[in-house]
Symmetry: D2
Subunit: 281 residues, 4 copies
């Protein structure tokens, strides 16, 4: 045949890890799900079934556990950097390694009003995320979050839009706005306190969402991105993906009832989806 | 025909509702997913296709929205009672109505350290639940929660168990214990503050889980149930369903490493499942 | 405390197994997910943390694999019976064992028009199911299926139902009927060819669904159950759970278009749910 | 602030449609889930909340239903082209429109051995997919499939790979190979019979998977891509994403049993993932 292999990668997905750090009675936990991808000179594996340049994905998985033993796994970004360094060093046929991480968050159980040293409750459906992508020349670090679900019941409008023959949507100066934020931000160079930035961006997203008067999801997205860049110099750009989770006002007229913004139908589908990057100039 | 219809029921599932209550600037939200079931004299609908005793499930859904407009939906239990009363009153062929409810929980966004009056964040993957089951004679009320995910990294053991030829599990005085609590509790008669009890039971479950020394999931289950009954006189029994979400210690010996309770593999399957009711005598 | 343990059980869920049988070039595969539950004298495990009557759920899992090696796993029911017999024999404190099984179905890949001896494609989202529940006196066997998704675009009606003030549904002599069948049937005594019955019941459900004129989901349910009992003497009763997966006719009038039963909105929620048992007298 | 909006798009996701075509007694059904995205001059919507260039996503949804009424929805690709043409024509501020479609497949129920004209069963968890991406200059058409789950129990090997200190995987000349194929292929110019190509590619994937001797998932991927390009001149490249769904041989030695390739543990995580494009030169 005369066909050729184009862009390709391989790796291990859904590698799960719980790392417990024990300092006296005080335990810390970090639960991660990792995806690892290699790009490189793997043409012969595809075209003639020669595996001599292939590190098994099973080995990638083992490496996660071995390195987790040797490292405190302080932040997901630090641990991902460690993995990348290890893989690039040991695999000369590999030109690019990326690690995608999702962290399930745990908070300490309160007993009385005191935090327990070794008992935890899962905090939210929300996950902290990271995506590190490295060649031998350069490492790109993105931190993020997903599934941060927000709603506001005032100060959200949508009007002044295009009307065509298929438009039936009514203009509204007062609708419910709900979304499930997915965000990731790209760091510039320089030392970064990943945990502090993550907490700060998360707080910023929630505060801006709560406080601003929204003219559309696009508008909300930009105001959030603008505030994040304004507060965090280390961030070069932020990508935001905001589904518009529609809560539709139920028509109660057939039952002789009005509905002054009190009874809504939550829906998962269809939903709007607004995506954009906000950048420094 | 010579065959007959046995036990049967019908109804509407996954009826979703957001109820917003507005008192000045302060808004309250309650998001519910309801399932409604009718039992009664519906034999002819099955055997000869006669729908004259059938209230359409579409009407059940409409009723949820109309009654939500007329009621503040203060608690999921109160609203379910209202629905049940309405349905039993209007449908004489119906002998039993049950309402199963799941509540997605929202908490106020903090701006600075102040709760915002009209902006909310989804709190956890956890849901508050209720199951009300009523005939014309009697109404049984169960409140509950599901998906309250807990972990402790000390004070959990499992040993002294039966060993047979297929047993390979090692005894342990120090393992990770993790579970995702599903609980529901049956109320006796008398007035109940459903919200206060729910908060109290939830706190009790978490505190007991954190504080006690576990000999097994069965043991933890009983200690939790025992504490709940001890604190809440209104509760006659509590059902608990506790998956044993295994976090397996990774064997690092092949890599020349020890693993003193630091690196674990989280797993979803297979999992143990322990279920029991704890009751007053 | 004076509280006591009520009904309780424990076991292992989501035990997954692929059994390959090799006879010459012809391979057979069976993929199962099993749930095992024990009831018995487990009070001390709960109340005082004494595990001396507890067979670890890890051992239950190991037993599945060991017995799968010793048995051909001819049918899911036969293999479940083997497990039950083993567990009851070896665990005198256990009074009841149940096995719930779900089978992912594989069919042979056709190469040309010939079935390949050792290559398979997953057939459908549908699963074969079984539930065996045994005490030392008696074993109850139920076979079944779930997620058999069916639709008919003619010969389905729903009219003549109750109308109350919250009823807005229009009567229809021509609607789409769609459902995702969950069925399980209870066997009487006597030898049974589980595979032949399963195939036969599945064909019967589909044929009856296709051919009859439906007055409601209740009506369809009964006609299916009636036909199954009519064809299979070994079956004493059949339970059917039929969601009414609504396909709503889209109102195109705002766009100046009619819609003579051509454009529909498929929905997952809310949905009707009709459940009943059809029995021999 | 001095920050700017970068790449951005918006649209409607999870727009669901059932199109029934009725020709005499013979009915045809097509069930689609569509995602629509617009790119264009939407900066002002973001930065100042000016919606005057925004077509509401609700209108996108309405358009799907109106155009589905006017068109027979013969193939998902044809219908997507119709939508794109409509949207580009009517929205001069929009520079790019993409439509992503997923089709749930239905086959006719057999009654006796005859296909029923108006009753259908869902065929598999598999979905047909399409992704059309158009600017005013150019339209790129990709067809595909996802969730085509395959397994072979012979003629699959993996050996000769790199071994490093974290490698524990044993070499194998005889393992189970299982995957869930996601494929999409890019068409060149010229008229295309989308349905015929789709059927042909699907058959090719299954046949090649069944017949070839696999040295790795990479190898299998290339052999599949190579065969598809060899048979279909209209296809310029094919992207394949193949998870390695591990079926692990269970170690039965602790129970005094061998396991000659008969008892396996199916796993979902972790899993390998192999992705590549096969192209014409």
């Amino acid at each position: 045949m005369t066909f050729r292999i184009g862009a390709n990668n391989y790796g291990k997905q859904r590698v799960r890890l719980l790392r417990v750090s024990r300092s006296g009675e005080q335990n810390h936990v970090k639960e991660l799900t990792l995806g690892i991808r290699f790009e490189g000179d793997f043409e012969m594996a595809h075209t003639v079934g020669d595996n001599s340049k292939i590190l098994p994905t099973d080995t990638m998985k083992n490496t996660v556990y071995a390195l987790a033993r040797k490292s405190p796994v302080a932040s997901v970004e630090d641990f991902s950097l460690l993995l990348i360094e290890h893989f690039l060093k040991g695999n000369r046929h590999t030109t690019r390694v990326s690690v995608e991480a999702k962290e399930d968050l745990w908070t300490r159980i309160l007993v009385g009003r005191k935090e327990h040293p070794a008992a935890f409750v899962r905090s939210g459906g929300e996950r902290r995320t990271a995506l590190l992508d490295a060649t031998r020349e350069k490492t790109v670090i993105r931190s993020g979050l997903e599934n941060l679900t927000l709603m506001k019941t005032t100060q959200s409008a949508f009007d002044g839009f295009i009307r065509d023959p298929y438009t039936t949507l009514k203009e509204s100066r007062d609708r419910i706005l709900a979304t499930s934020v997915r965000a990731d931000w790209l760091f510039g160079s320089g030392a970064i306190d990943f945990d502090a930035v993550w907490e700060g961006v998360r707080d910023t997203i929630m505060e801006v969402f709560a406080e601003h008067v929204s003219e559309s999801v696009q508008h909300t997205l930009f105001v959030i991105g603008d505030a994040v860049l304004g507060r965090f110099d280390q961030i070069r750009e932020i990508q935001l993906s905001l589904p518009n989770k529609h809560y539709n006002l139920v028509n109660l007229e057939p039952f002789g009832l009005d509905n002054p913004g009190e009874v809504f139908l939550p829906t998962d589908e269809p939903h709007g989806l607004i995506e954009a990057t906000v950048q420094r100039d």
